[in-house]
């Protein structure tokens, strides 16, 4: 096929012409590079502007009071407003994380040196200068950004937008004194890095260049982390000191330092318990038991400290956030196990020689593909509080009096207890609101089909011989499921658990449609709270800070999940 279609005289001649320019090996490599960059350019530009850059931009926005327009710098203000003093704890731990990352990169560099024996000293100065240049670039961007954003406002008043106007405005942006200083420093260090790179390239000779790239990139990463970490730590420290100053002026008592100390202590103990527990695996059985007991004791202490202190530290934060977080946790706990469980059962049933397999699969999958706004609209009517609404009238037929469903702010267990005549049901047992339970039902209904399809794929990848061998050994259906299918499906299960949990934290569309005034505030998950801040209150800075809290939670969940998956998942 290739030969016939491509045998076009015109094409051949044109490529031959190009060949004369790019005939050397280096020429061909350059050409391949240029073509590749042209190919990826549109996608990379779009993803860069709307996928990567926004993260940095959101950090920037979250540090300001930003109500439609950029206002004053608040530092940690938005974060402390959201999660109270926990913001400071997070600041210190992020700083610590950056420093640890710097050490890890430095160690990796060291390991390459140990393995290859090639001296890295020639390359490390380049890396350090490069890392410093990155930090200075960030500083430059931060200096430019407010002026840059201001262009839009300035240009608004101008009737005729000419090229000269743009050029003039851009010139103004880059000629502000603080911008010029930042730019000069950046260019200076960048130039230094380039000069050092060239020197290393020629001094090192052919052999030294083999690991040169790795040395430069690792030392660059280590340097930038080593700059970010202490800076963030110092910034957090300054914010705390400032908070004390403000508090003393207002004659209020604050205990940020004790809180930061105790929570950090609790976290360290938690990590220690984890490592002690892990070390038990290397010991023999009696020793291991003792070690595990010790780990458990440490864990209990750590947990006790954290449970006692974290809510106290977060108490000064936004009440809506904590409510939203609590609802989100309910939402996850109430959906993920059911979603996966039902999906697994259906997949196992479907994974047989039965008639109508593809039709079943198609039907199960239907809820997942329908626009969630439309399917939520259906559920809104199905589970409406009207006595004649479908679900309520179905209940009436069975002899149960109707529920308020989506308009019920009370906890589901309270509602059920009231049905049985228990009026003084304890509030801590109330559970999620009935309205939220309906949303959970919607979620399960939507995603079961998705999980079924993924589980089906997972089942398909289990080798048939396993089942045959087990059947020869006389294993029953349940024991085959318990000892072969389920363990071999664990990668799928972990993948789906992570996806479903993150999904509940991101959930927005259907909740937005299903929330009703009567149950307001009892169905708003974290994402909905953020969107409310953004859309209704237009507090962009604050909403950005909240979204980073959400991001932090999702990242932590992902990391924990990956850790567990690495240890427990059986990859057949």
């Amino acid at each position: 096929m290739a030969t016939t279609t491509l045998d076009h005289p015109q094409v051949t001649s044109s490529t031959q012409e190009k060949k004369s320019i790019f005939s050397s090996r280096r020429g061909r490599r350059i050409r391949e590079n240029v073509t590749a960059y042209l190919f990826i350019a549109p996608a990379v530009i779009i993803i860069g502007i709307f996928g990567i850059m926004p993260v940095a931009f959101a950090i920037y926005v979250s540090l300001f009071q930003w109500i439609i327009k950029q206002k004053e710098f608040l530092g940690f203000g938005n974060y402390t407003k959201a999660i109270g003093n926990l913001a400071y704890v997070a600041g210190f731990w992020l700083a610590l994380g950056a420093i640890i990352a710097a050490v890890v990169f430095a160690r990796r560099l060291w390991r390459i040196y140990r393995q290859s024996g090639q001296s890295p000293w020639l390359w490390i100065p380049t890396g350090i200068a490069g890392g410093a240049a990155i930090a200075l670039l960030v500083k430059f961007i931060v200096a430019v950004l407010p002026n840059f954003l201001g262009i839009a406002d300035k240009i608004r008043g101008i009737a005729v937008k000419t090229r000269e106007v743009y050029a003039q405005l851009l010139g103004e942006v880059f000629s502000a004194p603080e911008v010029v200083t930042a730019r000069n420093w950046f260019l200076l260090i960048l130039g230094l890095a380039l000069v050092l790179a060239v020197i290393a390239y020629f001094l090192g000779g052919q052999a030294a260049r083999i690991h040169g790239g790795e040395y430069v990139s690792y030392s660059m990463l280590a340097t930038s982390m080593a700059i970010i970490g202490p800076l963030l730590g110092w910034f957090t420290y300054r914010e705390i000191v400032q908070a004390y100053v403000v508090a003393i002026e207002a004659e209020k008592s604050v205990d940020i330092w004790p809180q930061v100390g105790t929570i950090s202590g609790g976290l360290i103990l938690l990590l220690a318990a984890w490592f002690v527990w892990r070390s038990a695996e290397r010991a023999d059985s009696t020793k291991a038991t003792f070690i595990r007991l010790a780990a458990a004791a440490v864990l209990i202490v750590a947990g006790w400290i954290l449970i006692g202190e974290v809510p106290a530290a977060g108490a000064s934060g936004d009440k809506d956030i904590w409510k939203g977080l609590q609802i989100t946790v309910w939402y996850s706990v109430g959906t993920v196990p059911f979603e996966l469980g039902i999906g697994l059962v259906l997949a196992t049933l479907l994974f047989q020689e039965i008639r109508g397999k593809s039709i079943y699969r198609m039907v199960f999958f239907l809820p997942y593909v329908t626009p969630s706004i439309a399917s939520a609209a259906i559920f809104r009517v199905l589970f409406s509080n009207q006595p004649a609404a479908p679900v309520n009238s179905l209940l009436t037929v069975v002899g149960i009096s109707p529920f308020q469903f989506l308009a019920e702010p009370k906890g589901v267990f309270t509602v059920l207890a009231q049905r049985f005549g228990l009026t003084d049901f304890p509030s801590w047992l109330a559970g999620p609101s009935l309205a939220l339970v309906v949303i959970m039902i919607f979620n399960i209904w939507t995603y079961v089909g998705y999980n079924t399809v993924i589980y089906l794929a997972g089942l398909g990848s289990i080798p048939k011989e396993m089942y045959e061998a087990a059947a020869v050994d006389g294993a029953g259906r349940w024991s085959i499921f318990r000892h072969i299918t389920f363990p071999l499906l664990s990668p799928t299960t972990y993948f789906l658990t992570l996806l479903a949990t993150i999904g509940t934290f991101k959930a927005f569309n259907h909740i937005w449609v299903l929330r009703e005034a009567a149950a307001l505030g009892n169905t708003d998950t974290f994402s909905v709270v953020i969107f409310e801040e953004m859309k209704r209150n237009a507090r962009y800075g604050y909403a950005s800070a909240l979204s980073f809290v959400l991001f932090g939670i999702i990242l932590t969940l992902t990391l924990i999940n990956n850790r567990i998956a690495r240890e427990k998942v059986f990859y057949g």
Partner: protein, 296 residues
């Protein structure tokens, strides 16, 4: 014994050894459970369809099937919710986004999958990182960006097609999916094409694309679903002129109030295009999902 074997996909000879009635019961239970599952999955749709052709009173009573089909409900919902406008918007947005996605993602995926260039791994892993970022984080900065671009550039971005389409024209998931597919194409083909004087673009268009129809179809389908179902972002960047159908439906739900029959007619109109697409491409769909683990 028979049950155990039933788990495996292929019928094996031992299967016949199980006693007949045991097998039949197991079969019956399986089908019963699957039927129950299908029923629950499909019943909201059935009810929606039924309610959409009821009279106003019937929809509010506990009726299951209307006495008489009121197909004029669709026309009324279409008019009242101004669906002609929203529908048109959604179609335009979807077509532009999906075409952009196919072109840009194919090009990028080809480069990442089949070419060597400086910084390939770094750029690719940077792009993969965006998968972890929740939509809520990027909503505000992107909103500020499109507002800024609209003020500075020649045409407004907000409440206009660019804000609704351009940010979604490249998706990391699609690039990843296509890259996997392109990388599997044997290198011999490329060698042969090179001998014939083809460059990368020609090879991509004439050889790779025809071989990757299935993967491209998956991208098209998911792009379609993604832009047809988009909600939070359009809510932020549209006021009136460019509201897509999901926003239109959401507004209509509030406006229509007690007119359940019209609400359901609106839901039918919103779902129908996706449903048609789903039934046509059903097999590709579930397989695409199973291969990529796509969600959202």
């Amino acid at each position: 014994m028979a049950n155990a074997i039933a788990l495996s996909a292929k019928p094996s000879p031992t299967k016949r050894q199980g006693s007949g009635w045991q097998k039949r019961i197991s079969h019956f239970v399986t089908h019963f459970l699957l039927m129950a599952g299908s029923f629950i999955a499909i019943v909201p749709f059935l009810w929606m369809t039924s309610a959409s052709i009821m009279s106003e009173g019937e929809a509010r009573s506990a009726r299951l099937i209307p006495k008489q089909a009121h197909f004029e409900n669709y026309l009324e919902a279409w008019k009242q919710a101004n669906f002609s406008e929203h529908f048109k918007n959604s179609v335009i947005i979807t077509v532009i986004t999906v075409s952009g996605q196919v072109v840009f993602c194919t090009l990028a995926a080809y480069a990442f999958g089949r070419m060597n260039f400086v910084g390939k791994d770094v750029i690719f892993s940077l792009m993969l990182m965006t998968l972890m970022v929740p939509e809520m984080v990027v909503l505000i900065p992107n909103f500020l960006t499109v507002t800024w671009l609209g003020r500075v550039g020649p045409i407004p971005w907000t409440d206009n097609w660019p804000a609704l389409t351009i940010p979604f024209m490249a998706s990391t998931v699609n690039i990843f999916l296509l890259r996997q597919f392109f990388a599997q194409i044997p290198n011999d083909l490329w060698d042969a094409a090179q001998i014939d004087g083809a460059d990368h673009l020609r090879f991509l268009i004439q050889i790779v694309l025809p071989l990757s129809k299935a993967a491209i179809m998956t991208v098209v389908i998911f792009g379609f679903i993604g832009s047809w179902n988009a909600f939070a972002w359009p809510m932020l960047v549209t006021q009136k002129a460019w509201q897509p159908i999901t926003i239109g439906l959401n507004n209509f739900l509030d406006e229509a109030g007690p007119k359940i029959h019209l609400q359901m007619a609106g839901a039918v109109i919103t779902i129908l295009p996706i449903l048609i697409l789903y039934f046509i491409t059903q097999k590709q769909f579930t397989e695409g999902i199973a291969h990529t683990g796509l969600k959202g």
